[in-house]
Amino acid sequence: MDLRDTPDEATFRAELRSWLEESLPQDLQGHRGGATRFAGPEMRAWSRALHDAGYAGLTWPEEYGGGGAPYTHQAIFLEEMARAEAPPHIGVIGIGMAGPTIIAHGTDEQKSRYLAPLLAADEIWCQGFSEPGAGSDLAGVRTSSRLDDGHFVVNGQKVWSSFAHIADFCILLTRSDPDATRHAGLTYLIVDMHASGVEVRPLRQITGEAEFNEIFFSDVRVPAENLLGEVGGGWQVAMTTLLHERGTLGFALQAQLEVQIRKLVALARDRGADPLQRDRIAREWTEMQAVRFTNYRSLSALMKTGMPGPEGSISKLVWSEANQRVTKLALEILGPDAALGEENAPYGGYWQYQQLRSRGNTIEAGTSEVLRNIVAERVLGLPYSR
């Protein structure tokens, strides 16, 4: 056990830190987040800069344009990005989910076609899993795909799809066999969002902005070579995606929480906090450290054995609820000013926005109830509830 950086890690961290100091544009630093951050060209430029410096797809194999770096570098990368309050690469879904799924299940042609533009932020991806009738119970998807003359013909509706309004491609879970039920008969496709018959309608969220969308598919013709995995084998492929969605996210989330708590402490300094609020600040700091070192333990196990430890499964669950408490506490410290809208609120309405946005954290990427089921059944080995 040695929690310090190795010489190699220390070098990587130092180089990254000075690169961030030089390269991060002032107006992107400390951005509060939200959909509109993607509107302008700055985010693409920033993402390309990350890519050109070799920081996009850091742990991906070099043959796919990645950095071939150990997972510890990825952890350091996220820590330093958070420390500098740098926004993430715009290809959140591409790098976090679509890319790893293509690496695991894709053909050589798919890998050479999709991975490089994804890392370079030339192409943006979205995820089309959830449907009006299939949320937590993903196996209930009904969007259909039918093979016809070298194409899959896709019909149906997806919902809550983040980034779909700016996306070039979608990882889409469809039902190819209408007679099969549940996990059988599902097929995983890569769909061109610019194809005819694809229609995206933004959905306005609790924060007032539109980060996610409905997607309608009407007789969309998807070339057969866009199949990922086997026809009827979509469930296994989707599980790879979800594993990456919840798994590799852990470090990014902890780093975000650390920034949030740093800002909370600064807020308490600025506005004052009573003893009960100070107790809660210390609680949140403590739990954030606990998540950090839980991630380290999981990562160390991954490096040593090739398998992440079971403790990694709790990161997202703990983070999401912590972020809700932290942002609520910030509003409490703001006092009556918490009621002010963006234009008049202190700190540009940062906390008001963050608090509302945090309500989505326990819903997106698996609800807290579903994650507790997973911990109970898969980690603790309790009897299955379904």
Binding site: M1, L3, Q29, H31, R32, V265, W285, G348
Partner: protein, 323 residues
């Protein structure tokens, strides 16, 4: 960065678990024979010259086994204050110590020597009377010393910071051992007990609190092991890490035991089931020394008042308009 135990440390854990299962009430001589009493004591004093990390493994296992004896008092509490010859006598299994850090002194029934905190240092107590008190947690006897006077001077009071960090971390580790076992009992019961025609573990009102208990156990372990590493390497963050670990792991062990008791229904409420003993150890740990609330007040002070100048990362909230 490597946050795993070495194979040797893992083997020590295995040995400890087997030994304590076979020997629930080991004597000090037996622990000395295993080499446990001299783990972090220097080789020239007859110890193994290892670190607090190996002791951390033992504290976790001793907590799990609800060990009753002066290991915590001697190794977790008093050791940093002791001189070379005293350490040698501990490593060889000849003697044991406890320290009167507050009015209630742990393991006063079994520890041979008592150390006390004077104005400027730590001294061995000479004379005085020991009075044992009834304690909720029967596995950790408490008492008070009356009268007596400072005898041999052992250490400067500057060692108190190290003693605080070490003892808080040891207690956090014990709490992890306690909480794990309580959780295991609850999982086993929820996986076999049938009511309303189903194993009770399928009911989310049972399984979700257990998932949360698991979460608390893992988070507690992460903090306790972080603190243990800080103590072992004399890291700058040892004090704050130990405060975080003790407050979180202590309170979590109590909460986990409570969840377990509820999960077992009537059986969980009986004297016969070991849960009541695990629960009482957890309560004992929580109330020992500095409370969680007090420790968090210290953490908050160090975050809000003290770190401002030293930490560039605690820059004021920076937000850009719009977006």
């Amino acid at each position: 960065m490597d946050f795993t135990f070495t194979p040797v440390q893992e083997a020590l854990r295995e040995q400890a678990r087997e030994f304590l299962a076979a020997t629930p009430e080991p004597t000090w001589a037996q622990l000395a024979e295993l080499g446990w009493t001299g783990v972090s004591i220097a080789e020239e004093d007859g110890g193994a010259g290892l670190s607090f990390l190996e002791e951390a493994v033992l504290f976790e296992e001793l907590g799990r086994a609800l060990y009753r004896g002066p290991y915590f008092a001697t190794i977790g509490l008093t050791l940093p204050a002791l001189l070379s010859e005293d350490r040698a006598a501990i490593a060889s299994g000849e003697t044991t110590w406890t320290l009167a850090l507050g009015p209630l002194v742990p393991d006063l029934d079994s520890a041979e020597h008592v150390a006390i905190v004077g104005g400027d240092g730590i001294y061995e107590l000479e004379g005085g009377e020991r009075e044992l008190l009834a304690a909720t947690d029967e596995s950790r006897p408490l008492g008070v010393v009356r009268g007596g006077e400072p005898g041999r001077r052992l250490a400067d009071s500057t060692v108190l910071a190290e003693i605080e960090a070490r003892s808080q971390t040891a207690l956090a580790l014990e709490a992890c051992g306690v909480a794990w076992l309580a959780l295991e009992d609850a999982i086993e019961y929820a996986s076999s007990r049938v009511q309303f025609g189903k194993k009770i573990g399928v009911y989310q009102a049972v399984s979700h609190p257990l998932a949360d208990a698991y979460t608390r156990v893992e988070l507690s372990r992460s903090l306790a092991l972080w603190a243990a590493w800080c103590v072992a390497t004399d890291d700058d963050q040892a004090s704050i890490a130990a405060a975080a670990a003790k407050s979180y792991a202590g309170e979590s062990a109590v909460a986990v035991c409570e969840t377990a008791i509820q999960s077992l229904g009537g059986i969980g409420f009986t004297w016969e089931h070991r849960l009541q003993r695990l629960y009482k150890r957890a309560l004992g740990i929580e109330s020992f020394g500095t409370s969680g609330t007090r420790l968090r007040a210290e953490i908050a002070a160090s975050l809000i008042e003290q770190d401002e100048a030293s930490s560039g990362s605690l820059a004021p909230v920076k937000v850009t308009q719009g977006g």
